[in-house]
Symmetry: C2
């Protein structure tokens, strides 16, 4: 155990490093790296922590300078003052990207879906910063889309969706007004292909290859006209030149997740009579479909190489681990644990980068809460004649430290679990991170980034 | 080799100590006020925030200096290295009070239930500090008990329990070895009556009035012998002199909660055919049983008047809002919202006190997570022929700002909802609060308090 005096001396060395870093800062513009775990609330983080590092371990996230609690805000589409207590990824990403609270499904549009809201990517570009988006979902999915495009609804992803989009309940959405031949900005894929991002990596090839709605070019053709180098696998991503704008489309829609349950097991519904089924535990194993990559870390490394090659320019980069949410929807614990693991690795890359360019603010947050909960593990689901199993679906996951974690999904009897309304965490590292208040809103995160980049 | 982050954490503890020492030199000893919301995780806080202050409001807790994420740790009773991922209030209070991780049900005892662990109340008393405990549950309940007594199991509350205690599943617990006539320390009530606390306020009169197990005195007689003034209602609490040790027993077991649902409605199970029942919303109303008081704030004010009357002495005070947990177990949203409200008011008193005695460290935390979740509000629970209601019980609570918050309880088909395994928040205000790291364990909270009071 070091004494307080020894500690002070050791910390002085850290401070010296900081002084050297300050010298570099005088000749560099600021960078913001925003890492977003979709659906990554405190339950999700704890589930992942228990598995990835065990009861005595700390995640990379746990070692950041500051933690805040972030209020998630949503309003009704008809009445802006009416609070809606559970969000979706579109309205929350809109708030993070624009500072404005809106209604579910909107992509950088106001609550009625009539007014476009300027995004931080647009403001940063205008101020001469490089910009990039990296995600494990389709790049046209809600989170990525809200940072660089505008759409009345998140489902207007590709040209074919404009006349044919439907919402979660099968109701038709009319996106035809935003079609290019009607003078609109086009589908989300079309807008992304000409948004001027230096880096755009993820899934979503399908939307970029779709035949256009009214005879105009496919989004991929537009991207090529704008000078993009197009990568389609790990090899072509590695070969991509740093000097050209880079579009990577590594899956038809979402990229495969890193992990799955052994024998592809997910949570299973429990009843008094099927207790034995759910009572068997299983570990997580690698998903062979993800072996070819690229991983979120590989994409992040490439993005940082492209965006950060010239410290005088500065950049804004969004890195999203999207399938934490999607795998919690699907009651797949190993799926979402592995995707928190991907975000951890990408954060490691961000922290390494910040050692080279210390004028980098790293923020890690989530858009909304999710269904999964850790509940007490019980091998039997009844005691005497009394049943006390979950009314939903549960998985008993074997953790590497030799215990069993029971995860409960019980927000809906349908195939799809629901988001929850909890506050989400914000973790921060970099200049000024220690001055971020303990409580803020998602709109405050937007303001914080805008101020750091001196955009307003 | 410690990393810079680890160094920073270690030095933060030095800084806390140094701050406390500096103040002591100015003739005031440090005070610690630990406020505990039982079961108060981020979902619980968000539920309460939405109701108490609305979408744009901030709780008193939200305005504190620092927020940390706290790891909750539990081990199996037979194998100390085996992690258990969901805790109870006994083992977590033991860790907060002693710095040692233990097994479920233990009251300041090691994981096997054989070794007593010294508590912060005992250490503080030995160092000349005043000590106090205030709770809305029976003062013999797990949280309060673990700070000042030792018991193999939390259920050994009164003399009559020693031969007759049963655990949650009806299994017999043998506490007879701790009976006074067998040379043991007695039931939890007996130990509390002679623990030397200057203030002990809450419910639990039943346990203090029980006829003794082996012919020894009732706990209440022991308390009177130790010079306690005994208050039994708001009036006698107000009249209690500041110079005498104060025991307040305001209910037979737990104190009544502040709020209830209109028409005493709680969450209701939903099925496809009963959707209409759960689809009606209700507001929270005052619980008439709680009108006579005292409230948690009133008890806290009195405790601070007794403990803080002489700044040269310093004190440790635990203030627990216990029924956040109990009302979430019972699927009563208005119940737990009102009890977060009680903790808010008590925190207000603590902050006011700290203005008079600034060498006061105020910590607000929780022991473990709980079942309640905010899920999307849907008036209908099916769309076409597809059902998507919760498999558990839901309540649609009308919020004062004019919206509806749907709360889901779905961890068990039995009468009683379960704890969950999420990390919990720590909020802090006072000297050194801004140096508390963003991530720590419950044992770290113990160490932080011990260092602030300069007890080791």
């Amino acid at each position: 155990m070091l004494s307080c005096v020894q500690l002070f001396f050791s910390l002085a060395l850290c401070t010296l490093t900081a002084a050297a870093i300050a010298e570099t800062e005088r000749h560099s513009r600021p960078n913001v790296i925003l890492l977003l775990g979709d659906g990554m609330d405190q339950q999700q983080l704890t589930i992942a922590r228990n598995y990835l590092v065990g009861s005595d371990g700390m995640l990379v996230m746990d070692q950041l300078q500051s933690l805040s609690s972030v209020r998630v805000q949503t309003v009704a589409p008809t009445r802006p003052g009416r609070s809606v207590y559970v969000a979706d990824s579109a309205n929350t990403a809109t708030t993070l990207a624009t500072g404005i609270v809106t209604s579910k499904g909107r992509i950088a549009m106001d609550y009625r879906g009539t007014g476009e809201l300027p995004t931080i990517v647009e403001l940063a570009r205008r101020a001469g910063y490089r910009t990039g988006i990296v995600t494990t979902s389709s790049v046209t999915d809600a989170t990525a889309a809200a940072f660089a495009t505008h759409s009345v609804h998140r489902k207007c992803e590709g040209p074919m969706d404009l006349p044919a989009a439907v919402d979660w309940y099968g109701a038709k959405i009319d996106c035809t007004a935003q079609a290019i031949e009607r003078g609109g900005p086009g589908s989300i894929a079309h807008q992304l292909s000409s948004a001027g991002l230096e880096v755009l990596l993820g899934g979503g090839r399908r939307y970029f290859e779709q035949a256009a709605y009214g005879g105009e070019k496919r989004p991929l053709e537009t991207a090529l006209e704008h000078g993009y180098f197009v990568a389609t696998d790990s090899d072509s991503l590695a070969e991509a030149p740093l000097q050209r704008p880079l579009l990577g489309l590594f899956a038809a829609v979402d990229m495969p997740v890193m992990w799955q349950g052994q024998s592809q097991r997910k949570a299973e519904a429990v009843t008094h009579s099927t207790a034995s089924l759910a009572a068997t535990s299983f570990p997580c194993v690698a998903n062979p479909e993800a072996a070819a990559g690229p991983s979120l870390k590989t994409m992040t490394d490439k993005a940082l190489a492209v965006l950060g090659r010239d410290p005088q320019q500065g950049f804004f980069l969004l890195v999203e681990s999207a399938s934490i949410d999607k795998q919690s929807h699907a009651r797949n614990p190993c799926g979402h644990i592995g995707e928190v693991g991907q975000l951890e690795q990408a954060l490691g890359s961000a922290l390494d980068f910040a050692k080279q360019q210390p004028n980098t603010l790293i923020l890690v947050t989530a858009d909304h809460g999710h269904a999964a909960q850790i509940i007490p593990d019980r091998r039997s689901f009844s005691f005497g004649d009394k049943a006390f199993h979950s009314p939903g679906a549960v998985a008993r996951v074997q953790t590497p430290e030799g215990s069993v974690m029971m995860i409960n999904y019980a927000t809906s009897v349908a195939d799809d679990e629901l988001h929850t309304g909890t506050n989400v965490p914000l973790l921060a590292e970099g200049p000024g991170a220690d001055t971020i208040p303990a409580y803020l809103t998602q709109a405050d995160i937007y303001r914080l980034m805008v101020r750091f980049l001196n955009l307003q």
